[in-house]
């Protein structure tokens, strides 16, 4: 009875991410309990804000969490990953600034309302997604190769949109999205993530998109025979990721009210893929759990923040993440799982034998 309960827990998809989160929390609690301290202060505009490591994790993990939602769907439907999300953030962010600032890089006033700029960015993001999706679903190119195109060209395109100039947004309201809304001490990014999660949950609940995506990912042929259009489903997944990218770029650009084409959201695609893997989702497509991926995104940020706290050089962060990847890959490999379970049965057998000889 107890054993079956344990097995149920360990075989749950959320087990690995939750275990990782628990371990990180324990390490931090032992080394320095003040890690979990959250204080209420005021920022330089005189508004109340919460601060502390936990708030930092929730705040800076937001972009990754949003990207992880889209990346999970793409992974599930296509059995591959989109490595162009960082470059696409540069494109959508650049388009957003272009609309906000017009042709003047240092405007006194906004050339267009923020909502218009955001909608334009969404359209641009979805177009980029559709481009990737078309290559993958219609031309049947491997997702990683197809998205390599925007990965290489994206940042040049972003620079070209603004004639290689760096516009600076004058309106303080634009900073709310990556900062704080006056009077609300919780980072705005947290609300943006919650909205994204709710919208996604509603879509998955009231449409068959989730089911169809999984079935296409598991077996494309039989899904087609069952009347599902795999091309359409894959396209939708990539377009949805494009939308997530646009939302993430709003946060990224808003944090500093400007953009640097060559470094904005650098290497974020790898973190997004890692989030999906940490969530226990199969990277070769099929069944997925979006909430596990979102959890994975926050774990990555938890790890990053912890490492910063321990004064690990930031150019060495990638190495630590690599260790996590290695552990994940090794433990989820079928061969290791098999031998682990064999080890268990052997032990059990030995115990039984010992009991008999006594």
């Amino acid at each position: 009875m107890n054993k079956s309960l344990l097995k149920k827990i360990t075989s749950n998809q959320l087990f690995i991410p939750l275990l990782a989160l628990f371990l990180l929390a324990i390490i931090n609690l032992i080394v320095d309990p003040s890690f979990f301290k959250v204080t209420l202060g005021t920022n330089n505009e005189g508004n109340p804000v919460l601060s502390g490591y936990l708030i930092t994790i929730l705040d800076y993990g937001s972009e990754l969490a949003i990207l992880a939602i889209g990346m999970t769907l793409v992974t599930s439907a296509s059995g591959g990953q989109d490595i162009s999300v960082g470059a696409t953030i540069a494109i959508t962010g650049s388009a957003m600034l272009r609309v906000l600032c017009g042709s003047n890089t240092r405007p006194e006033q906004l050339a267009a309302p923020i909502i218009v700029a955001f909608l334009v960015a969404c359209i641009v993001g979805m177009l980029c997604g559709a481009f990737n999706g078309a290559l993958v679903s219609i031309f049947k190119i491997q997702p990683m190769i197809a998205t390599l195109i925007l990965f290489t060209a994206g940042r040049s395109i972003a620079a070209w949109i603004n004639n290689n100039e760096l516009p600076i947004v004058p309106d303080p309201k634009f900073k709310y999205f990556g900062g704080f809304i006056p009077g609300i001490p919780i980072p705005t990014t947290v609300f943006i993530v919650i909205i994204c999660v709710i919208v996604t949950a509603l879509i998955l609940k009231f449409t068959n998109l989730g089911l169809y995506t999984q079935s296409v990912g598991i077996n494309e042929k039989s899904s087609r025979l069952n009347g599902i259009n795999p091309t359409m489903i894959k396209m939708l997944a990539f377009i949805f990721l494009g939308l997530c990218v646009a939302v993430a770029s709003l946060i990224k650009v808003s944090r500093l009210a400007t953009i640097n084409y060559s470094v904005i959201a650098k290497d974020i695609e790898m973190d997004a893929i890692l989030a999906v893997a940490l969530g226990g989702n199969s990277l070769s497509g099929g069944k997925f759990n979006i909430w596990a991926s979102v959890l994975g995104a926050y774990i990555i940020q938890f790890l990053t923040t912890t490492l910063y706290k321990f004064n690990v050089q930031s150019d060495a962060l990638a190495a630590y993440k690599a260790v996590v990847v290695i552990l994940l890959v090794v433990f989820s490999a079928p061969k290791v799982r098999e031998s682990l379970s064999r080890l268990k049965t052997k032990k059990a057998l030995k115990a039984v034998n010992k009991g008999e000889t006594k």
Binding site: V49, T258, D315
Partner: protein
């Protein structure tokens, strides 16, 4: 048997797919490259041919110079550098100048050969790469073309060029640290945000601060981290220090972008910064927007990385024309450090880049 056939078929299909996809990639990237950067080679050849025609018809009162530079779109620094050269080497100033731009060494070498064939008097060079210049510079010497290096040095025998005009990153760091020391704080608790580790700018700008912090007992480096010239990383690093509760009163960021990221973290945490405030903010490169922050007294100091080499080159050419060799082969430019309490709007207009 059937299985084997199926396998080979599958692999053929896979191969052809891979072929398609790689073609797609190269096409897209070349397309992007051509749209993003103006087709430099074409522009340069047509420009060069135009210039040669012009000089053939004109009297030889002008000094002919061929200028090889990196792509002006590379950075704000390069744009300012190119504009400065263009403003100096004009007909009014007695020059007949042709320009060639490339970020690739081989294209630059090709341009140099064209200039030598066109019999320029001076070849001005900001090399994309340090190696591979010996042969072409020997050709230049044989043809009697004098070479002046600017902004970047090369690995070649010094006898092959007349002079090289460069920035001294160590001195930039020293100027900044001296300025900081002159603020006479009782205690210095510094957050040191470094550039990409190993780059010339990082080594020069870090070196001076490291030495000072080791020598003085009241200088402490609270945190030393590389943010790789990235504003977002700088923001996270400073956020981490704030979360830890450690106290600090100086932010020494090795470029303007990272200083901006650091300031964003300070703003969110309600820590005041600037002239007469809690935290001193220091940056480098003198971007226009950064100098504007100084003018608004939000930052305290910005160190220059001087892109304005044209006047130095001009005076060397004037000397050489008069028969005087430059006193030193390597000429280090004067680089200022701007203090927020003394900076003026004129400084912003004159020295701000981008």
């Amino acid at each position: 048997m059937k299985k084997a056939i199926a396998l080979t078929m599958a692999s053929v299909v896979a191969l052809s797919l891979a072929g398609c996809s790689s073609k797609e990639t190269t096409k897209a990237t070349t397309a992007a490259a051509t749209t993003a950067a103006p087709t430099t080679t074409q522009a340069e050849t047509t420009e060069a041919s135009k210039e040669t025609e012009a000089t053939k018809t004109e009297s030889s009162g002008l000094i002919k110079v061929g200028i090889i530079n990196n792509d002006p779109n590379e950075s704000g620094y390069r744009t300012a550098n190119d504009a400065d050269l263009k403003a100096m080497f004009t007909k009014e100033n007695g020059y007949d100048a042709s320009f060639a731009y490339s970020l690739k060494n081989d294209e630059q070498i090709q341009a140099a050969q064209t200039f030598i064939q066109n019999e320029v008097d001076y070849l001005l060079l900001s090399a994309a790469d340090t190696a591979g210049w010996d042969t072409v510079l020997q050709d230049a010497q044989a043809a009697g073309v004098k070479v002046i290096l600017f902004d970047r040095t090369i690995d070649a025998d010094p006898s092959l060029y007349e002079a090289s005009i460069v920035s001294d990153m160590k001195k930039e760091g020293q100027t900044a640290v001296d300025w900081l020391a002159s603020q006479n704080l009782t205690e210095y608790n510094v957050i040191h945000i470094q550039g990409v580790m190993g780059s010339a700018a990082q080594q020069g700008r870090s070196g001076a601060l490291d030495t000072k912090a080791n020598a003085e007992s009241n200088w402490t480096i609270v945190k030393q981290q590389t943010a790789e010239w990235n504003a977002e990383k700088a923001q996270q690093i400073v956020q981490s220090v704030i979360d830890s509760g450690a106290s600090f009163n100086v932010i020494y960021a090795e470029n303007d972008d990272m200083a901006k990221g650091a300031v964003a973290a300070l703003d969110a945490a309600g820590i005041s910064h600037g002239v007469g405030k809690d935290v001193i903010v220091m940056g480098f490169d003198c971007n226009k927007w950064a100098l504007e922050e100084l003018l608004a007294k939000n930052w305290n100091y910005d160190g220059q990385c001087n892109p304005f080499q044209a006047s130095y080159i001009d005076s060397i050419i004037k000397d050489l024309e008069a028969g005087k060799a430059p006193a030193e082969k390597t000429i280090i430019m004067e680089e200022k450090g701007f203090d927020a309490s003394t900076i003026t709007q004129d400084d912003v207009n004159k020295y701000g880049i981008g």
